[in-house]
């Protein structure tokens, strides 16, 4: 298990799925990320927390290839993926969800999942016309699996509904289900609990634990410290664009820098569950 450290990586002996070193990013002179350095331990649920404007979403955008960093390095396993394009990062097994749900609105719920598998033979023009049996068989297998996932996530009855017609909470579930359909090694969840009702928060928490049990590595941006405390093994605190500390939440509560920068205000502001 990782140790509590200030501004650095987790313990050197931990096996990491994802590592970033000194990531920096500015927007027209405004520094959004000033030196994010952390490891995401393999097979664990890691929370990325910090006050608003700490650079959490920017870091997630960089990690998923949707933004390029100005400097620094990023590694998935042993592969340096610094500033790779997002589709290449995804093909290495890193998927993400979004803070504001970005469902593929014109596609049905089922189609949203069917887009996700990598290297589908039916995505090639030649295969469509010259290997139709292979395409059909693969499509059937993918459809069966997608329906199973939708069933698990309680979206089965909505499978033929256009995704844009779903409620906010259903869209959150759909994004996670879509990520799962891609069979990722690492799943980045950007505030999966934001704007959803308490019952659904519990359900989403359960799904995330289930993914961990399947061996998936999860990095989630989260403000709900109850959730973080209950399901996360490891916590990374970002403040003013840099890594302030890493470790277990219970340990971080004793860290004065963390309390001053974030935990103090959150603990004071949030009701106890």
């Amino acid at each position: 298990m990782a140790e509590t450290t200030n501004g650095g990586a987790t313990s050197p002996e931990s096996v990491f799925a994802l590592r970033c070193q000194e990531l920096k990013k500015s927007f027209q002179g405004v520094m959004a990320v000033t030196g994010a350095t952390f490891d995401v331990p393999q097979g664990m649920i890691t929370a990325l927390i910090g006050p608003n404007g700490a650079g959490k979403t920017t870091v997630v955008n960089i990690l998923s290839g949707m933004m390029k960093s100005d400097s620094g390095h990023m590694q998935i396993g042993s592969t340096d993926v610094t500033n790779w394009e997002s589709f290449k990062i995804a093909r290495l097994g890193l998927m993400r969800t979004f803070q504001l749900s970005r469902e593929l609105g014109g596609l049905t719920v089922l189609e949203n999942l069917l887009v996700a598998p990598q290297h589908q033979s039916g995505e090639s023009l030649l295969n469509i016309f010259f290997r139709p049996v292979l395409v059909k068989r693969e499509e059937r297998e993918n459809t069966e699996r997608a329906l199973e996932i939708l069933n698990t996530y309680g979206l089965y009855d909505l499978r033929d509904t256009r995704a844009r017609e779903l409620s906010g909470g259903q869209k959150k579930l759909l994004e996670i289900a879509r990520g799962v359909m891609a069979s990722p090694k690492i799943l980045l969840l950007d505030e999966p609990m934001a704007g959803v009702n308490p019952a659904l928060i519990d359900r989403i928490g359960g799904y995330i634990l289930d993914l961990k049990a399947q061996g998936m590595t999860i990095l989630m941006v989260e403000h709900n410290l109850n959730v973080v405390e209950k399901i996360c093994d490891h916590v990374i605190v970002l403040a003013e664009g840099r890594t302030l500390a890493t470790g277990r939440l219970s340990e971080l509560r004793a860290n004065q820098d963390v309390v001053q920068a974030y935990l103090g205000e959150v603990i004071n502001a949030s009701p106890t569950r």
Binding site: M95, L104, T108, E111, L125, T143, D160, R203, G205
Partner: protein
């Protein structure tokens, strides 16, 4: 054949031809979200190359043009389609990779204008403003077709080509490739995070659509025997857009309906109507205004078109609904001190 039937078969030809053109633009815009405002340029390239490859060597024809290979149908038509694809590769490399949709649209309008100016003014290419003429009519000498019998024959031939191209397009749009294109249309950023190489798919879409544009253009020059820059003013692109927006974006049946309503009934039928007394030629000029108004009305009141994009329903259901849904069981969350505490309450399925 009476004059009326001549007109009818002319309308039928344009119905099928614009169905082909609409399918090409639809896969680019309706399926992939590429606002190709240069579409008519691809049609023109297909027309010119089809014409120039079927015409004999330019020497002695009184025209100036490149190629002049005297190729028969459908080889010339295929080359017309491929020439449009070549243009698509060029445009994609300079514009598609780096530009957002709106900027791409502006660049493509510029491409259309540049293309128009070059072909219109550089005479050695395709005979400049006079365009190509005396293009051989396919099968006319073999089947001993007269001018009158050629029109219904070629309308039927175009119908067969359209049917074949509709079958091909249906296979594509119903395939996983079609689904991925629609994912890119809806949100290319999300598609990329799902491992889809967006540029590769956009290029594929551009190539398919451009081939359709080139073939559609090739059929036009072979039907009329001539083609010049007045036939493909850059604004003509918006007529094809009107066809797909009125008929229904993302629906092949809708495209046929759009081709019937816009191209056949509004653009070409009025040309065959008798003149309004005292205003000769007025009807022909009114048609574009009518198309513009129709387009606005459709976008306001029925943006999905006459025949909207269909919901693609799941092909089958699960044989048995798994009882192992997470909703149906309590989840025991281990706390940090190693004890287990049930923190998530049992819920019924589907909340």
């Amino acid at each position: 054949m009476s004059a009326m039937w001549y007109y009818v078969f002319t309308l039928v030809f344009f119905l099928f031809d614009y169905f082909i053109l609409a399918m090409g633009l639809n896969i680019q815009y309706g399926e992939t979200g590429i606002l190709n405002f240069a579409y008519i340029g691809f049609v023109a390239v297909g027309a010119y190359v089809t014409g120039a490859t079927s015409l004999p060597n330019a020497a002695g024809t009184g025209q100036q043009y490149i190629l002049g290979w005297g190729l028969p149908f459908p080889l010339n038509l295929l080359l017309g389609g491929l020439a449009a694809c070549l243009l698509a590769v060029f445009v994609a490399l300079i514009a598609l990779r780096r530009l957002r949709t709106d900027y791409l649209a502006v660049v493509l309008i510029s491409v259309s204008l540049v293309l128009y100016d070059v072909i219109n003014n550089y005479v050695p290419l395709f005979n400049g403003a006079d365009g190509l003429y005396n293009v051989p009519e396919p099968f006319a000498s073999v089947l001993k077709l007269t001018t009158n019998s050629f029109v219904p024959f070629f309308a039927a031939l175009t119908g067969v080509v359209a049917l074949l191209m509709w079958w091909v397009m249906s296979r594509i749009t119903k395939s996983p490739l079609g689904r991925t294109l629609r994912a890119i249309r809806d949100d290319d950023g999300v598609a990329a995070t799902l491992g889809k190489g967006v540029f590769r798919y956009q290029l594929t879409s551009m190539l398919i659509g451009s081939f359709y544009a080139g073939v559609g253009g090739g059929l036009i020059i072979q039907f009329g025997g001539s083609f010049n820059p007045t036939a493909w003013l850059p604004a003509e692109t918006f007529v094809v857009f009107a066809v797909i927006l009125v008929g229904g974006v993302g629906n092949n049946v809708g495209l046929l309906v759009g081709a019937l309503l816009v191209e056949t009934l509004l653009i070409h039928l009025p040309a065959f109507l008798p003149d309004i007394p005292g205003h000769p030629g007025l009807i022909e000029y009114i048609d574009t205004i009518v198309v513009g108004v129709l387009l606005m009305v459709m976008l306001w009141f029925r943006p999905q078109g006459v025949v909207p994009e269909r919901v693609r329903r799941s092909p089958f259901s699960l044989a048995t609904r798994s009882s192992k849904t997470l909703d149906d069981r309590a989840i025991i969350v281990p706390t940090n001190d190693g004890e287990s505490t049930p923190v998530i309450q049992q819920e019924t399925a589907n909340g």
